[in-house]
Symmetry: C2
């Protein structure tokens, strides 16, 4: 069997960390005797420079013929002066999500043993560890709801956005959260603002209905403002957090920051056919791009998730995850994970990739 991966490395550190992910994928291909074909396409700022827009037709077509998208990161100061619609992040990520109906975004955030000191939380809180999975609805809500625009003149000119959710949109993402919880600690925390939003009231109703089919999973509801707070005091009390598009944007970033090691986190965006986009949770980090010091682990783990979810190659995925765990426990770390005094021992982007590929 042969597989097709569309590789969209993008901007900033994207190309550097992607090179290491490719190296690790090659090692996996060899070990498991797989035939994977890669097609590279421009996206984001690189695509603006080469094609005049952040998501060119050729990139979109290329993704359509692939089994999955391995995405790097997009954006940087060079393109920040552009109108919001044309900027790399909004102009590439949102249309990709919409076009492939990638309604389900999954972002795990776990505090790795030995890396507790990286968390910005007080030591007695981080010492208890945490392992939260954010399941975020990604193609609905206020991101895509119509109407969206402006009207009126002068000081009365107003802008408007529409938050909109149907029962079926809520149901399909809620199901995924409950299924995920069954394979974990069996608890779903649904995040909403049902004391203010009509969408959240419907959200609660449908989530309750879905919960009835999962009697082994505990369900709790929490307001977004309170969720933001409780994550700071007791992150270990949360297992799966089920969120609408906007609230998931906030919660997934908060939990990522709570680990303090964003360079280790990846994110999966899936549609109902198992087609998906796999990307590191951190951004394009233009401040450290080109220096060979970026952490490639998140990109490498994105590749593992791609093998698991879109190509159904569980063993190959695990081989990568085991190799990454080995690198980390062997003390193979990039600079940002080390205290200033130990930065002399930091590994480069390439050294990390080589070591992990070797371990595979």
């Amino acid at each position: 069997m042969s597989y097709q991966i569309a590789v969209l490395a993008g901007d900033g550190i994207g190309p550097e960390v992607m090179a290491e992910a490719r190296k690790v994928l090659s090692a996996v291909e060899e070990r498991f005797n797989l035939a994977i074909e890669y097609s590279e396409y421009d996206v984001g700022g690189a695509a603006i420079d080469n094609h005049g827009c952040p998501l060119p037709e050729v990139t979109l077509k290329g993704c359509e013929t692939a089994d999955a998208i391995l995405f790097g990161s997009v954006g940087g100061p060079k393109w920040e002066h552009l109108p919001p619609n044309e900027q790399p992040e909004r102009g590439a990520l949102l249309p990709l999500r919409g076009h492939f109906e990638l309604f389900c975004n999954i972002r795990p955030a776990k505090l790795h043993t030995g890396l507790e000191h990286m968390s910005p939380l007080r030591s007695d809180i981080s010492a208890q560890g945490f392992d939260v999975l954010c399941v975020r609805e990604l193609t609905g809500g206020i991101y895509f709801g119509k109407p969206k625009g402006r009207q009126g003149e002068g000081e009365n000119e107003e802008a408007f956005d529409t938050m909109r959710y149907s029962r079926k949109e809520i149901r399909r993402i809620a199901k995924i959260a409950f299924e995920a919880a069954q394979g974990r600690r069996k608890k779903v925390t649904s995040v909403d603002k049902a004391n203010v939003l009509a969408c959240s009231v419907l959200w609660r109703e449908v989530v309750e209905e879905v919960a009835a089919d999962f009697p082994d999973v505990e369900l709790e509801h929490i307001y977004i403002d309170n969720a933001t707070m409780q994550l700071l005091r007791r992150p270990f009390d949360f297992d799966v957090m089920l969120c609408s598009n906007l609230f998931g944007d906030i919660i997934s970033d908060e939990i990522a920051m709570l680990t303090g090691s964003m360079g280790l986190l990846s994110s999966v965006s899936l549609n109902s056919d198992g087609f998906g986009l796999y990307e590191p949770a951190g951004g394009s980090a233009p401040d450290i791009a080109g220096q060979g010091i970026a952490n490639p682990v998140a990109q490498i783990l994105s590749a593992a998730l791609l093998l698991r979810h879109s190509l159904k190659l569980e063993q190959a995925a695990e081989a990568i995850e085991v190799a990454v765990a080995k690198a980390l426990s062997d003390g193979y770390l990039t600079a940002e994970l080390l205290p200033a005094s130990e930065r002399g021992n930091a590994k480069s982007t390439r050294e990390m990739g080589d070591y992990i590929a070797q371990a595979v």
Copy 2:
């Protein structure tokens, strides 16, 4: 000159902490020879029990004849089964904000010297302290935008909310943020999601325009997801945070939790005539209500803010703030501010109130 205050103690710990605020206000009246009249009205769950709705006409009329509202807190498990619209929080706070056009919400969050250990942040971060002022728009955005509701049938049934902002709504709240920054560290961080929301794009435009009138104040823009993260890593880099209604709900709660001492924080909601509602930032805390252990400081400081902003009694306000600072630095603390091993020294709600009234 004589003043009228509408006192809405509400539910949970509301009445207990309000009693101490009244005690302190009496001491201030005596010291400064003021004549303040108080009228008490039911609100929230108490009003549901006595009048069948969380904001009875008599309460609203009473507030209309007053110079300001001193608010306790509303809500509790007893009323949680009610439909969202009729619940104490939504049914009382939102109509009060709307009716009096309290468009400006100000929530300070400061890490008190000596209470750094209360913060959930890592000690090297909290050791640097922080002092953030959240200026939140309170009568616009997705809270009040029309249309809001439901339509359709079966699985296609959908709910919708509208986020809506006009130039003038943005301008008036932005001005307040810049004015506040002038009296502080001269920096405004405007929180938005301009990479997704049309409202945020307009928000940025108007905030930039307002900034031009305040050349001495630095302006930066940050996305809500990134703001949630950066507050965890470097809260000390923020001075005034300017937020729309929904984002301000999230940010003000996050910064309150970052202090770890919610019982010390109060919140001001003002209209353009200086009329305002003053309340503690924490909730009704039904779990500790009636035990005489709740911290009355936030309610007492709310009274100080009322004297300052609505009654223009600066000296009286300061007298209260000085007395509170003295109590805290004298080690006069309620249980939740003490480590478990020192709870034996905890002061009761009443002891705190007596001590502060005495100090006035």
